[in-house]
Symmetry: C2
Subunit: 330 residues, 2 copies
Amino acid sequence: MPQAPFSIGVDLGGTNLRIAAYTREDGLLETILLPTRLAAGRDAVAADMCKAIETLQVRFSVSHPLAGIGIGTPGPLELPAGVLHNPPNLTGWDGFNLREAVESRLGEPVELESDANAAALAEWALGRGRSMKLDSLCMLTLGTGVGNGIILNGKVWDGAAGMAGEAGHATIYPDGPACPCGSHGCLEMYASATAIVRAAAQRAASGAAPALAGESWTAHSLAQAADQGNSDAKAIFTDAGRALGIGLSALVNTLNLPLYVIGGGLAQAWHLLEGPVFEELRHRSYVYRLTAPESPLAARNSAAATHVLPAELGPDAGLLGACLLPFATH
Amino acid sequence: MPQAPFSIGVDLGGTNLRIAAYTREDGLLETILLPTRLAAGRDAVAADMCKAIETLQVRFSVSHPLAGIGIGTPGPLELPAGVLHNPPNLTGWDGFNLREAVESRLGEPVELESDANAAALAEWALGRGRSMKLDSLCMLTLGTGVGNGIILNGKVWDGAAGMAGEAGHATIYPDGPACPCGSHGCLEMYASATAIVRAAAQRAASGAAPALAGESWTAHSLAQAADQGNSDAKAIFTDAGRALGIGLSALVNTLNLPLYVIGGGLAQAWHLLEGPVFEELRHRSYVYRLTAPESPLAARNSAAATHVLPAELGPDAGLLGACLLPFATH
């Protein structure tokens, strides 16, 4: 009996580089974890990546046909060219043609997507999208920044230049703090893990939150403090949830998708965010009010309901999405 | 030689009801204009609509085959059901099944869309979308409110419940004035004709804009005053353009479409809006900065450019879009 086809997926991050072999039947067969050697330069990183791809290719080609190679990369990524444009997490990579660098080394074509789009694809094919049997979703990944990927009718929505899915840089408060993207008051400035930690430091420094003073907080330790009743920590998650709810309201009103998925490390604190998220959604989106899961409309037509839920897949979403790219229809 | 198929389109408004016969070769063949008899009730309006449809059907069926009937209606419209949900411009129509009311009278199926989606379809097929040969666009219609329609790959994006395209109710300033939709600080509260007139009245009443005092302004007369150098009138359009630019920035970052079209009556004042619109786009959307028509990326790949332009079609856009619905692939 011929073996199922396998793919090779790459999750390129600012710190780690993960390369995996994958089949739809058995999932991840083997994962290679490497440091992203940014100091050695982009060509060295591309070479590391290709060497690991070739290792897996040799190992699994014996028993399986190769379906293709997929790469998820920090954006902004220009498609179909495969050029990176000043990616904040890959300093010095501005103008780098990642597609060319990899394809010329490997001698074969690769599928490219931004890491947030890859994660959304995985959440659609293997996570919430699969368990809820839905064709379309919008994913927000709350991590160092706020990533975003949109799946419409089972396909990644790349947009005209490959740069769709940057709702993390939608303005929430026009006069808010400066964002590294050049704008002010972006969703990412309120609803990322980075923003949570910054808010704690600012509140502590202002003297307004003595219960936060004198500690070096992480998003995780702040969530624990909130769970233990620290009201200053709770207030930080409330603010983040409020910003997330304002951003989600615009996405619900604009796209009316059946599913919005919240992923990333900060989604572990979903229980602290969801109250203000749904409060803002009910306030700011009449589309949400009309189509919420408990609405009469949703009771009559469950396919028309709007669901907002934490992601099912964990930190492997981006890697799994890269592995899925060769199997996805574009 | 058999004649080209004709469609019948209906543009249902809160004041006027327009019913037209249309062919793709000759455009609008005949238009019937009726008042929308809201006081007589929704069934009377549906009956008026159907009588006019039948008149055109009898007249043109002699020479042409009927391709179908399309209706554009104020939303929120639930699709595929065809139920209106508390439409602000059709008081007393909450829960009205417009599809059922029309199809039972006519004895045949009709295609339904929100008026803003119909206008976007027309602008795509017959306006900017056609002249620029682009597959996808997002249209904002600046009128009494701010309508929105999204065309992706040549099809109206309806969303799961038919309610996509409500970016007019994206939040711009979270603590802004109350919107009739139930939210606060919606785009519609700043960038509609209604908002422009309200801003003039407020500035005049506050005493801060003596050049606006003692007059009963319309959006049109305010634009004329601005053109004649009235700096208070100009400032009102600057504020509206700024809000529009903030809203557009989120749409560009999220969807990365090749074309954003600004229609509706207020688009006649585009020359007063475009300065602040592009200022905000450059500030708030790195996707726009990377893909603006004059960017190196757009020079290399013109299909990846982001265009923001006034609509080509005028007040007939909604009616034309309704006529196009039977020809559109869904």
